[in-house]
Structure formats: structure tokens, C-alpha cells
Symmetry: C2
Subunit: 312 residues, 2 copies
């Protein structure tokens, strides 16, 4: 057997884990619960124990393990200190050092959104490229930037905070971040529903959305695909602002490829086509052909990217 | 004498050259004309000859020279091929290989805007940092991105093309790049004059600018400093869009510092204060304190950055 590594994706509810070959094959994946008792004091021990058990269970040779990568829901310094994880209960935590002490393996840590981007570059929608910008459209809008195979974290850990680009100049409500007009306010699942409700409230136009109680972002896309005018307007609006934002990003880092992930990306080619239409109009001529593609690893992007962290 | 290197900044009219210590002291700088005859066929020879003459003239030891860096006005591939320089008359030119053959020294080439950003990071307004975004406000608006001490070029050589971020949604004229609403259309010297003329034409408001024939961007800043309402409106508009653009950039790469250079930056602290006012309002909370500073190397940024290209 060749060289192996572990990828760990630490979430607020579960820890996803994977055993990989260094070439990028996922041999096995599993989950353990995230024990948040006593401010997450047991989390590192639980992860270490699970890794060591997996080695015993599969009779792996310790010499074949190149290391453990871990994605965490908080900003990570270049020296491997997590600057607080609200979801886990952690304050500043030297996750690399602690997990290395418990397992005996080299450990590399990264922010979970950035790590997912690295995963998509390695074995997902961005495979075969050296740079990528990933946009995750979920409850909020997150992102990750990988250039020359390396995650960009930024001076304040804010690189890739694409959801908070102030692109919507006419927004009147305040975003969670305290500003007005963030991309997240129109392109997150929450934002999509809010925008559709605004269109509905602004007039009496017929819309199939009026008959769906507590409709979701998915409902908006489904009705837009059927041609409902209000749903179409909502999708066009998010596509326009995503196109503008990706156009801006191309003028800054000019990536090989854009990858769209997160729950909202299940809208598929319809979403990609809408974004691309506006992107082509709004970006620098040299970047018009940069592909905008769907993420392919889903919830596994985090374990793939984490594993890649420890592979040079 | 310690180790030395040459920095070369190839422009359409002159070639600026500098002899540096690897620690960053400029020992001597000089210029030669750019011979554009026969599609720039003599340019590399002229540069090589000037370098070799300088070595003889100063009785330098060839072993002390670590190499030659050169900034060129066109996109450069990672293998040192310039993909055409319209200003010089060059088509695709293997500038690194050619200049190495003529001088015998290692050569590294980069795009001039990117190289100037590297110079400002090394010994200019960004000194002491590891990442920087430079915005050059001249006839157009250019830029350069340096992260972890390395220039970001992008998949299409378009990284740092900040002037073409489509931030002005209500623009009706078309930019040189073919789009509408580029930052360059309000924040370049040309754009500033055009915007002031628009404000003047839109009403009969008194303005000292009405009595200045063929006023310049400098005139607009001078009159704004004196409180002329139209001039102030023009400066506020460019400050707002620059603040928005830098706010976007912070959400993408989150640099240590922003550096503002180019002729328009001679407006000084007044310009910086106006940009900062809007930046703080429009960027992600974690990045609000990122300093926005003036470039300090002026026209020498290019030779500094070029020299830095060959120093590891």
C-alpha cells in the first residue's frame, strides 16, 4: 500500500473524517459526533482516538501515514492556531500542536470554507487547475480562494469572504455583518426567499409562489424554471449580483475557474447559466471565458481539502 | 562589497535602470532611450550593453551580481515570455532567455504594474508587510497584487486589473475595455475631468472650474481643497467608488495594506482621507483597519520591484 493521509472536517454537530491515498482516492469515510461539552475540551481527543482506532482496525502501517489535515469553523493563523470557534465552544486553540501530540503525525489546519475550496481544486469541480475561487451559497454566502495550489487566508483571515462584498447599492436592510448591500443579502438561501417576498409584496402580480406556504430558495428556483415571473425576477437578480461579484474577483485574482457550491447550487445548470450571462457582461475582456462550474464533492469537499493540506 | 543586482523598467520612451544591493539600497540609477525601430529589435541588446558597461565602469565583480530583473509593459507568462508589448513593438518575446544570453546573468521578468507593486512592498509605502494591493491612478487605473511576497499574475495575466472592476452601475459611456461602469471611468485622471465636466454641464451651479480652460485632474483636486462644490462632488464620487472597490478587494485577498500611486495620488492625504471614509463604510468588519497609504517610490517603483524579482 502507498502513502496515506487523514482528512478531518470539524463541524458544530459532527466531525467528518476520511482516509485517503496521497493520490486523492477516498478509501473510507466516517463520522463521529462533535462533543461540545466543557467548551469542546474533548474534541481533539475524540478525533485522535478515532484516527488511531482506524489505523488499528485496518492494520495500517504508521510509516505509511503522511499526516492529518483538519478544517475548522474559524480563522486559522499560519502557525496553526484557531482564533476561536464559536460553534465548538473553543477560544484560541493550537489545534495543529494538540492533534500532533495526540496522534504523533504531522498536522495541518485550515479554515473550513478555504479547505473545501482546496478539496474542489484537488478532486472536485476544479480538478486539473492550479487556481480557483469557490463560492458557497448556503444559509449565508461563503468562499475560498486557492492560488498556485495554496489557500489564501488574508491579513485578517477575511480572504474569500465573498458574501460580504457590498455589491447591492440599493439595499435598505442591514446584513448580519453590520453593513448594507452584501452579496449574501441577495444570493444566500435566506436572501433569495427575502427578495422573492419583496417582489411579491411590491405588487399584485400573479405568482405560483403566493400559494406555497413558507416557500424556500429551492421553491423559487423550481418556479423560475417553470417560468413564474416573480421567481424569474428573483433568480435574475441573484444571478446579476453574483455575475458582478465574480467579475470583480476576476479583476483581482483572475482564477482558472470559479466553482459554485452549497445548498443553493443544487439548482444546477439553470443557476450557472444565469450567473454566466451576467458575468460575461461585467468582467474584464481577458477573463470572459473563465469557466463557472458546479462543485462536485458536496459535503465531502472538506475532508478532501483537509487531506490535501498535508500533502506537498 | 556585498551582493548586487540590476532592476530594469522598460517603458515606451525610456528604459529606467538601477543598480541595487540585495538589501534594497539603490546605489545608482540611470536611463537609456527605448529604441523602437524595427519592432524593438535592439531593445534587449541596448539593455544588456548598458548593464555590462555599468559593470566595467564601476569595476564590479561579476560574481557579486545575483541577476537582472525587468518589468515590461505587457503580460508575462510564468516561463518568462512577454505576450506582446504594443508600446515597444514586440510580439511574443522570450525576454528572460534573451537577456540572460546577452548578459550571462539570471533574469526574471514581470509585468510593469505588478513589478511596481512589488517595489512598493519591498522598499516603498508597503515596506515591512508581506502582502499589498497597489492601485495606480494615472491616465488609466492599474493595479498590482502581491501576496506572501509573490506577485499574483492570474490565469489570463489579468490579476490586479482593478481599473476594470464594474463598480459604476449608472455609467452610460463605454470604457476603453468595451464594458460600461469601470472604476477607471471615474477614478483615472481622464475620468476625473470627464466627471467634473458632467457635473458642470448638468446645471448652472457656480464653480471655479468654469474659469479654468482645459482643467486637469490636479485642478479638480486643488479646487476641491478650496471647497468648490462641483470639485468636491467629483472627488467624493471617485473616493466613493475607490472605497467600494478596495472594500471588494479586501473581501477577496484581504491584504496587509493598500497603496495608492500614480499621478493622481499627488493629491495626497486629501485623496487618502476621502477613499478611507468610504472604504470603512463598505468593507468587511475585520478589514476596516487595513491601512490605505500613499506610494513613496514614484517612478522608481518599477526598478525597485524589478530588482526584487531576482532576489529570493
Amino acid at each position: 500500500m502507498g502513502k496515506l493521509c487523514f482528512g478531518v472536517d470539524l463541524g458544530g454537530t459532527t466531525v467528518k473524517m476520511g482516509l485517503f491515498t496521497v493520490e486523492g482516492s477516498l478509501l473510507e469515510d466516517w463520522e463521529i459526533p462533535t462533543r461540545k461539552e466543557e467548551k469542546g475540551a474533548y474534541v481533539i481527543d475524540d478525533i485522535a482516538e478515532s484516527i488511531l482506532n482506524k489505523i488499528t482496525e485496518n492494520a495500517l502501517n504508521r510509516e505509511d501515514i503522511v499526516g492529518v489535515g483538519i478544517g475548522v469553523p474559524g480563522p486559522v493563523t499560519p502557525t496553526g492556531i484557531v482564533k476561536g470557534c464559536v460553534n465548538i465552544g473553543w477560544g484560541d486553540t493550537a489545534v495543529e500542536e494538540l492533534l500532533k501530540d495526540k496522534t504523533g503525525f504531522p498536522v495541518k489546519a485550515g479554515n473550513d470554507a478555504n479547505v473545501a475550496a482546496l478539496g474542489e481544486l484537488w478532486q472536485g469541480g476544479g480538478k486539473g487547475n492550479s487556481s480557483l475561487v469557490m463560492v458557497t451559497l448556503g444559509t449565508g454566502v461563503g468562499g475560498g480562494i486557492v492560488l498556485g495550489g495554496k489557500i489564501i487566508t488574508g491579513a485578517n483571515g477575511a480572504a474569500g469572504e465573498i458574501g460580504h462584498m457590498s455589491v447591492v447599492y440599493d439595499e435598505t436592510e442591514t446584513c448580519n455583518c453590520g453593513k448594507k448591500g452584501c452579496l449574501e443579502q441577495v444570493a444566500s438561501a435566506t436572501g433569495i426567499v427575502k427578495e422573492a417576498k419583496r417582489f411579491l409584496a411590491s405588487g399584485n402580480e400573479d405568482s405560483s409562489l403566493r400559494s406555497i406556504e413558507n416557500f424556500s430558495a429551492k421553491d423559487v428556483f423550481d418556479e423560475a424554471k417553470k417560468g413564474d415571473a416573480i421567481a424569474v425576477k428573483t433568480v435574475e437578480r441573484l444571478g446579476e449580483y453574483l455575475g458582478i461579484a465574480l467579475g470583480h474577483i476576476a479583476c483581482v485574482v483572475d482564477p482558472d475557474v470559479f466553482i459554485i457550491g452549497g445548498g443553493v447550487s443544487k439548482a444546477g445548470g439553470f443557476l450557472i447559466d444565469t450567473i454566466t450571462k451576467y458575468y460575461v457582461e461585467k468582467t474584464y475582456p481577458q477573463c470572459k471565458k473563465t469557466p463557472i462550474k458546479l462543485a462536485t464533492l458536496g459535503n465531502s469537499a472538506g475532508i478532501y481539502g483537509a487531506a490535501k493540506l498535508v500533502i506537498e
